[in-house]
Symmetry: D2
Subunit: 135 residues, 4 copies
């Protein structure tokens, strides 16, 4: 398992009247990082659905906001797979200022379930992907 | 044709680091008003799709921002049908502070097309709805 | 302490390509409910800042997504104060379909800190508000 | 004057229940491109405010939606200065699929005013920037 860092620029759309990144903005950034982490390993939302009839849905999110992000900042957003078992994948994530070595802004955890696109029922992550995701 | 006014509260999510409602926030508010205007006349996005196989898609939007919306404000957002013809419906809209008689914040115009949900092709608005929408 | 329920309509802006309410949308809805709960008890973001120089910032959020919200749904979003002590207030929250007795969609928890608007340092919630919030 | 193209990845947050990029998402993408175009020419929102006491505010937006953006797409979003005069700068913009030569999804136009951050009054764009922006 390897940590992935996505650079994210903070635009006006991401900020709020307190002058900093709005909390749900960080939640969106965390999903961008998970999405790109998965895509790099061959799991693309659209292809997953079209070829396997499977969707990935967020089943839980936790985020602790330690320091504010500011307009114009470049942030580094990580995604790291903690565990994948059955239908469930657990990610730990961070948001840091500037780069992976920068100030810690957010610590988070996300659980993503693999489900049948047609009926929403939990389905095991396909074995060929589990191997790739665990690398 | 009658003007419809939707009250909209401004939350932190709607604001940006300039301390005011973010421009795309007003665009979202305008759609809320069009959606509720249509729903009151029997056109519900989900039902329209499920029963008729039709979707409503925004084909153009214009907005002129005259004055800022602020955190905690109650805004009044209007939707008024200017014209409906063929596949196309044109709305004029306003956002005002407090109520329909309040300070003008935004003037806008939106064109909505009726399309086939399956292939995205333009389709005439069903005649029974045109009559109702023109009332 | 009393549970507060805010009705929230699901618009197109709140949904995603999976056809349901996007996860960060629920996070936004939860803040709307906390904001209105606080406003009913005399704590208004803008007034709090202007008169006391204090801001309320989200320091952590947790949400477990149990069932999907759909386009056009009316949701009921709760906010209930679990604890307020020092600079910290803890809320438990739910999102249910239709009303407070409807299907549970989301369970969450939010911690909000009272901080000095000028420097971001933690400040005790003013005693007069603690009393009101604990009622 | 030169056209600037910003690559933008479409994430789940940008889509809606119609399975495509939500209209206000395109409005956000257009602002990202204007912001980066300006930053490349020395105009940074935050620095502009802190050093000159000036803010840039969107005074009007127009967008015509020609074709849908899809989940996972890479879009190319342009910003091109049409005119800058007094307090006003006018941009023409496009969103295309894949790259600057790809399918046209959106055509737009945005007017941005330079205002005094303290009172919101229109102020001439500083001459040294006008020269740079017109290059």
């Amino acid at each position: 398992m390897s940590v992935f860092w996505l650079p994210v620029r903070v635009y006006l759309e991401d900020t709020d009247a307190q002058g900093v990144v709005y909390n749900a903005g960080f939640v969106r950034f965390m999903e961008r990082a998970r999405t790109d982490w998965l895509r790099e390993r061959g799991v693309d939302h659209r292809a997953f659905d079209e070829t396997l009839g499977l969707s990935l849905v967020l089943t839980s999110i936790e985020a602790r906001f330690k320091a504010p992000g500011k307009l114009g900042d470049i942030l580094a957003v990580s995604a790291d797979l903690l565990e994948i078992k059955g239908a469930r994948a657990v990610f730990v994530q961070e948001v840091r200022r500037d780069s992976s070595g920068g100030e810690l802004l957010v610590e988070g955890r996300a659980e993503v379930a693999c489900v049948d696109s047609a009926n929403g029922r939990a389905r095991r992550w396909p074995a060929e992907f589990v191997k790739e995701l665990n690398r």
